[in-house]
């Protein structure tokens, strides 16, 4: 007598959660840009038996952006999911896995990420800064000023911009451009870079040669620039470096 087909798997079943965890680790492990994503919800799960102890699992996942850059060595479990008022970014992923003799492996994944609608954020938090395009002129200006200033003050290697991760602009009550960006250490000192920046090469793709910066450029009412960079190879974060600071608080 053929066995009855197994009951369909629930999205909150431990087996589904284990598959989702494997999927999220795979997605973060194979991404080279942006931030690590954390699981928010399992939207759907389907299991297609292939034979004894051999299943194909299809997952639909809803992920949320964390504050850990993808190059950060911080384990995902220690990364904080961006809050709604930070203007959250959501990732929708379709993942195909195989469970063979109890071992999960990801066969394919496809993700699309998108920011929450500005209207939703404004409705909850009218004064919160909103995400803007990464190639926004004011953002590029802020990142360039921040990195130049950081390089001018550091005694370490000359840092080069790898990518801008996210950027927000607030207009009221002050005009502030906030940006986060990944940097890479080069084989140049700051002095060598000033002489010939074109000769500076990024150091080998080792995690310790990457870093992450947060910058805030105040344009109004009083010009100010705050930069905070952390090189992943150096566990002690660099101090905030104020520039054009009219208010030292």
């Amino acid at each position: 007598v053929p066995a009855a087909p197994p009951a369909p798997l629930s999205c909150d079943d431990p087996e589904s959660e284990a598959a989702a965890e494997a999927a999220v680790n795979y997605i973060n492990g194979h991404s080279h840009h942006g931030y690590k994503f954390a699981l928010n919800r399992i939207e759907d799960v389907r299991v297609v038996p292939q034979g004894p102890n051999n299943d194909i699992i299809f997952l639909e996942l809803d992920l949320l952006e964390t504050n850990c850059h993808i190059l950060s060595p911080t384990p995902l479990v220690n990364c904080t999911v961006r809050s709604f008022t930070e203007h959250a970014v959501e990732g929708d992923c379709d993942v195909k896995l195989q469970k063979l003799d109890g071992t999960l492996s990801v066969l394919a994944s496809k993700c699309h990420s998108h920011a929450d609608s500005s209207e939703d954020v404004v409705q909850v938090c009218p004064d919160c800064p909103l995400l803007v395009s990464l190639n926004n002129t004011e953002v590029l200006e802020a990142v360039s000023a921040a990195l130049n200033h950081y390089n001018s003050k550091t005694t370490g290697p000359y840092l080069r911009l790898l990518e801008i991760g996210r950027a927000k602009i607030q207009y009221h009550p002050a005009h502030i451009v906030v940006a986060e960006f990944a940097v890479g250490a080069t084989n140049c000192s700051v002095e060598e870079a000033e002489a010939n920046v074109g000769a500076c090469q990024l150091l080998p793709e080792d995690q310790s040669n990457f870093g992450f910066c947060r910058a805030a450029l105040v344009k109004r009412p009083s010009p100010d620039l705050q930069v905070d960079c952390q090189l992943y190879g150096h566990q002690v974060p660099a101090p905030n470096i104020p520039l054009l600071s009219h208010d030292t608080s």
Partner: protein, 39 residues
């Protein structure tokens, strides 16, 4: 008001003893629980 009556009825309904062996219906299989917040 309509609101108060609805609440009262719900509270009254909650006091009805459940039959022996009552098993609450299983949660819907999907989607699963939200871990952080819904967008």
């Amino acid at each position: 008001s309509v609101t108060k009556r609805a609440v009262a009825e719900a509270a009254q309904h909650d006091k009805v003893p459940r039959p022996v062996g009552f098993v609450p219906p299983p949660p819907p299989p999907c989607p699963g629980r939200i871990r952080h917040f819904d967008i």
